[in-house]
Amino acid sequence: MARTHAPQLAVAAVSGLLFGAGLYVSQMVDPLKVLRFLDFTAIPSGGWDPSLAFVIVPAIVVMFVAVRLGRRRTAPLFDTEFHEPEYRRIDKRLLGGAALFGLGWGMSGICPGPAIALLAFPPDGLWLFLIALLVGTFAGSRIVPSGHLKRQADAQ
């Protein structure tokens, strides 16, 4: 894709606004609320907070409908193709990466979406977290092949 056109930027802006609003309204910007979901030890005492499940299920359902609608078209409205993920295999990198992410997520209750959205009302330590997030991402990018063609070759 040569360059980004204005409609694509408008779509990105609308999507980002909706996403940020959704994270605030659902309170998923609150790391402690996320941790109260992950704390299954609180289930017997009735202190468990199941809210995260009430967030992710409707989100999946809405996106599921969108994916079905998309399958009836050859391309999205403002680009020449749907950018489907290229990887197909369930491999050590996927599972190891998910495990490390799960460990970090369980330590802090912050996943990347809320981490960025929290810039709207930054708690102490957020900048340190974001810098570490960027450094970790950069280190990871030394391992995963970069570039569309390399990824495709790797995905075979």
Binding site: L17, Q27, D49, M107
Partner: protein
């Protein structure tokens, strides 16, 4: 379950789903935040829409907090990050930085986080995403059980 907020959770979740739907049907892109964030780094191309999306993400959270301040953290209440278990003797900044490194590294090599795998991937019925979601939720739940930081 006094802390459960199913109604606002479902409304917020629907907004997140709508955000993913708009980006997919409009631009054919997956609204995976770790990917959008990570691909700002070189050798990235088409950075412009990613920057616009991330700025809008912050503005969306801020704007909705102004409109509906009573919903909780960020609106009426201050936000705070989790602190490490006191008996472990780990300084909070070390804990926060380690968590950020693990999340950045893990989502990069695992190609996604809660939004990319959890929302978009499951909605696409991706077997890879289902495997990733099963692993990261299990490990996160196990981590909270071990640390007991809630």
């Amino acid at each position: 379950m006094e802390s459960s907020t199913p109604l606002t959770a479902a409304i917020g979740g629907s907004l997140i789903g709508l955000a993913c739907a708009v980006l997919w049907l409009g631009n054919g892109r997956i609204a995976g935040i770790s990917g959008i964030f990570g691909q700002l780094l070189p050798p990235a191309h088409t950075v412009a829409w990613r920057i616009v999306f991330l700025i809008a993400l912050v503005v969306g959270a801020w704007g909705s907090a102004q409109l509906f301040p009573a919903l909780g953290v960020g609106g009426a209440e201050p936000t705070a990050l989790a602190v490490p278990p006191t008996q472990w003797g780990i300084p909070a900044p070390v804990w926060i930085a380690l968590s950020g490194l693990l999340i950045g590294f893990g989502t990069k090599i695992g190609n996604g986080c809660t939004s990319g795998h959890g929302v978009c991937g499951l909605a696409r019925l991706s077997r890879r995403s289902l495997a990733a979601v099963a692993v990261f939720f299990s490990i996160a739940i196990l981590t909270v059980t071990v640390t007991g930081i809630v």
